[in-house]
Symmetry: C2
Subunit: 619 residues, 2 copies
């Protein structure tokens, strides 16, 4: 289709001035910082000039306005351009831009983070901003039902990430007409040409095959950009604007040169470039404003009634997860995602009750976690589930959710060798280590259905990345229904003044510890049993008491590899303790195989007899 040219000369001139200002400011701030990515900013300056002047509906003075569009720089390294945009719209001052970019204490960090109120999520790990944008667009189309639009700027290099295709696939599948992706096809990656360079036709065919409208334009033709963005907003599905651009555009000495990635211009070159671009400007862009959002008419939540279980009944914690999820679904802000295994994770128990707040992500765990991050941008409380092992597929997304300070809940089922016959590919055995290491995370691992349900209820309102580990098999309910399970707490399941050893477990190993304690008791050895259902934060007081009361004899048992899991959490917590203690650490030290849960736990040395032996050896 021929681009419609609706802009007059004066408008074009004005847009050109804005673009020049964005270029000038991108150069100035990065040169001053002696760090950053000016050339990757210059290539997209024309796209952004048109976008902010004529298409993004945003009340920059009120970033919390529910009706605002969303603008995400998936190519987070183009932060000079993003911050130049923020200056142009009056969100930040020229001085803040130029004097603080990339400096210690500044909110204008090397890559964008939500330390800035106009930034929804941290970017900088490529191929993540777009999948998060899909999550926001899901919220807009299906939950908020507001006309805001999600604009995502991607680099061309990042289209090599599979996550980009997971995202476009879901955008197409869910018909996200409120999503527009601008791909800055500047042909050059960090260390040389991209794989597809300027082969816009291949990009187009890929995008179309994945269910999105593609519009190919010259990314420096202001009228063509304007036309494309206008068509994108009116489209009946998601649109990808494929913009052929030149890296370093506007500074002829460095245009389209391969050795200019991530390098600021030296001061003399910067000065010449700024002069050639017409000097420093202080243009204030006033783009379109959002229509007022209707008042939020969300139905009030009904009272929460958590599922109840009979003590001693064998209930898998994954089942309790599903039951509790369904129960917390009375909250209209609770939204659930799953990676095509909801009948295993039991997320389907939510879906049956609240189908309008469930999004099937099929087998794309990266997109699933990203969608959760996007949904929480819009204030929802997402729960995303898959097998514990398969969250490793999305680990970079979980890591970045931590950097974004996103509030999300993740539930990993089928943890440990306890799953049995499926074998090691399906066993989450490193998830506690990985999830604990995420900044600001909470890690929970309940041993029974009651505690699981109580923890799920708390996850709804917790900050940060919250990870719940559930178990495949049914194990006895240990607690009364109204028992509280505060995050950061623990439970004393057996204990008295004459305990000679403390058996410490979480999840399935709590049951093994109880059986071991019974066996030890019949041999005259009193063993304390502690259920550390809150792996992070950890109940240090309970551990200190155990050290004190048992003469420092601890046995930690976990269905996890020995590195970084429950044992490490206990050790980290007690590292600076003055009183001496010895900790016997039972964990899965070899590569597991198939077998029954009992066979595999015994083989790993985390079964009842191994715990008894360890306790005996310690006393």
């Amino acid at each position: 289709m021929e681009a419609e040219r609706t802009l007059d000369e004066e408008q074009l001139t004005q847009l050109g001035e804005v673009a020049a200002q964005l270029r000038v400011d991108s150069i100035r701030c990065s040169t001053r910082a002696a760090s950053g990515h000016p050339t990757s900013s210059l290539s997209a300056a024309d796209l952004l000039a048109v976008l902010i002047s004529r298409h993004v509906r945003y009340d920059w003075a009120e970033p919390g306005n529910r009706a605002n569009d969303h603008l995400i720089f998936s190519k987070g390294h183009a932060s000079p351009l993003l911050y130049a945009v923020f200056k142009a719209v009056g969100a930040i001052s020229d001085q803040e831009l130029v004097d603080t970019y990339r400096r210690f204490g500044s909110r204008l960090q090397g890559h964008p983070t939500p330390a800035l109120p106009w930034v929804d999520v941290a970017t900088g790990s490529l191929g993540q901003g777009l999948p998060v944008g899909v999550g926001i667009a899901l919220a807009g189309r299906y939950l908020d039902q507001l006309p805001y639009h999600v604009w995502v700027l991607c680099g061309d290099s990042e289209t090599a990430e599979g996550s980009v295709w997971e995202a476009l696939d879901k955008a197409g599948h869910y018909g996200l007409r409120n999503l527009t992706v601008l791909v800055d096809v500047n042909r050059l990656g960090q260390r040389g040409p991209t794989e597809l360079e300027w082969d816009l036709d291949t990009y187009r065919r890929r995008v179309e095959a994945f269910g999105c409208q593609a519009i190919v334009i010259d990314g420096h033709d202001l009228a063509a950009i304007d036309d494309a963005l206008g068509r994108a907003r009116q489209a009946t599905g998601p649109t990808v604007v494929l913009a052929r651009t030149v890296k370093g555009k506007g500074v002829p000495e460095i245009e389209n040169k391969p050795d200019w990635h991530g390098k600021p211009l030296k001061p003399d070159l910067a000065e010449r470039a700024v002069d050639a671009l017409g000097g420093v400007r202080q243009i204030r862009v006033t783009g379109p404003q959002p229509e007022p959002a209707p008042p939020t008419g969300a139905p009030a939540a009904q009272p929460l009634e958590l599922p109840r279980y009979d003590r001693g009944a064998k209930v898998a914690t994954r089942n309790a997860y599903g039951d509790a999820l369904r129960a917390v679904g009375v909250r209209p802000d609770v939204v659930v995602l799953d990676g095509e295994v909801s009948d295993s994770t039991r997320a389907d128990r939510f879906t049956d009750a609240h189908p309008d707040r469930y999004f099937e992500m099929f087998i794309s765990e990266q997109q699933m976690v990203a969608a959760a991050v996007g949904l929480q941008v819009r204030g929802y409380r997402p729960f995303a589930s898959t097998f514990a092992a398969f969250f490793s597929r999305a680990y970079d997304f979980v890591r970045m959710a931590g950097v974004s300070r996103a509030d999300i809940a993740l539930s990993g089922s089928h943890a440990g060798v306890e799953i049995g016959a499926d074998g090691p590919s399906q066993m989450g055995l490193e998830d506690l280590a990985a999830m604990r290491a995420v900044q600001g995370s909470t890690v929970l691992y309940p041993s029974d259905a009651v505690s699981c349900a109580a923890l799920v209820a708390q996850m709804v309102d917790r900050k940060g990345v919250n990870y719940l580990r559930t178990t495949r098999g049914g194990h006895p309910v240990l607690y009364d229904n109204d028992e509280p399970f505060p995050v950061g707490g623990s439970k004393l399941l057996r204990g008295g003044d004459d305990d000679r050893v403390a058996l410490i477990g979480a999840g399935v190993t709590v049951h093994n510890c109880l059986a071991a304690a019974d066996e030890l008791a019949s041999a005259g050895i009193n063993a304390r049993v502690i259920d550390l259902y809150s792996v992070k934060p950890l109940d240090r007081e309970r551990l200190l008491a155990a050290v004190r009361d048992t003469g420092g004899r601890l046995v930690v048992v976990e269905d996890h590899y020995p590195e970084g899991g429950l044992g490490s959490a206990v050790l980290e917590s007690l590292a600076d303790l003055a009183e001496p203690f010895r900790l016997t650490h039972l964990a899965v030290r070899g590569l597991p195989t198939s077998g029954t849960p009992t066979e595999l736990m015994d083989q790993a040395g985390i079964g009842v007899s191994a715990i008894v032996a360890a306790a005996r050896a310690s006393v």
Copy 2:
């Protein structure tokens, strides 16, 4: 193109019999195990019957034959079919198949692992077998230059994984005509219909847009399968055979039924089904054999000359990685991969010297790690590099490499807050935790260029997943060039009989510990300094001596989040120690920002003054 029908009736009948046997055996073994995925096996039985009878060139009696084709079940849950194939070709007995499938102690695990000599890599985490196959095909086309072909069976559900598109993209880019992918489009995933169901045309357009030939067939038409596979082997590029199939095919009661994923047939239904399929067979398939491989004429390696550095010179360990990589490149089996950041990781120093053994993976870390796994299947020693933070993108692939017992070397650069202005998205701060938790892994973190080069040299021949963490900035060379750095060792940089505290670091924090020790010495406090360059395995003896000699006063300093890293490694190692000790753990406890390396290390409390304060407090 109309399928050529070259098979006569007798051949078709024979193939039908083989297919029936594969179905019968898939049912028998899973019903006996009361576990497994028969329906996902039945859909692909015809594809495999034709493949093994007429296309896979494999000497099943000699799985180590270099000329053998490769057969990978990316849909690893179809293990009943794979093991039925192994029975059909005489690799395993009917008894082993039926009596041991999924049982404890059996090599016929729930999902395939290389415990079986005909299995190259563990599968079961979907979307991984294909990317690994791309790695094997890279070796075949560019390194071995042998005519073996790589056949990968994928499920349709797993095409939702972005990694599948990373793989097809690379297959197209590298023109891997020795790769054929069979997609078993049976329309049903685990919990219901797949996203695209039987929309073969969309699959076709996606595959073609990603640079591969697509052939759409009825996956139960034996002649069409045969024609497609024959064309695939003759193709000038990679081929994807998109086979429309029926889940549960051959057992009318369960054909195309959504509730039959991952469920074995009950014995009575199994019996009826086997009867209807013509009963148990013991057909022995003799497929095509590989042509004899020419003798390996690889050039003998020249003597290794590691780079040499001047003590005190400031050299980044990433630079030493690049230098050492170039040096070990005298070994003709060393192959290098990078995720489009080789000028940052310094892998480009290898590339300059050995361009024929470098594969650019662009920004697709999952495919990069998978390609490394594939290359080691063929006996190569792959080194793959990106920023430490971005290995989190491939964590599931690293995890599965552990399950595969793959021998690979990974190098993560730009670790920790030391990188400075780029901010937290680029900082590897959870990599030690994640990599330590991988089964059988080795984790190395050198503090200087000499030790880094020495460790790289050892990584060439080490088993398992080997991870090297390197630092962005230049720091003084600490060691003499011929100093040995055994994996599992450590170095005592300062120390004597009257040490009152031990400062323990790795990587960049070793330098901070040295400066702190100097400051403490001038205040009359003797501090021992230990360089724990081998994070896993750890030098426990050195730590025991430090506890003994200092009265148990340890300060561990790491540029990593506090969970699961160096501090945890030390604590795990000393957990059961009888002598008491107190460990002060200095780590990055908040979310970092941008700044200079020194500003950020000071802010995190891992700088010199924090170490001095911790040491003073401990004595």
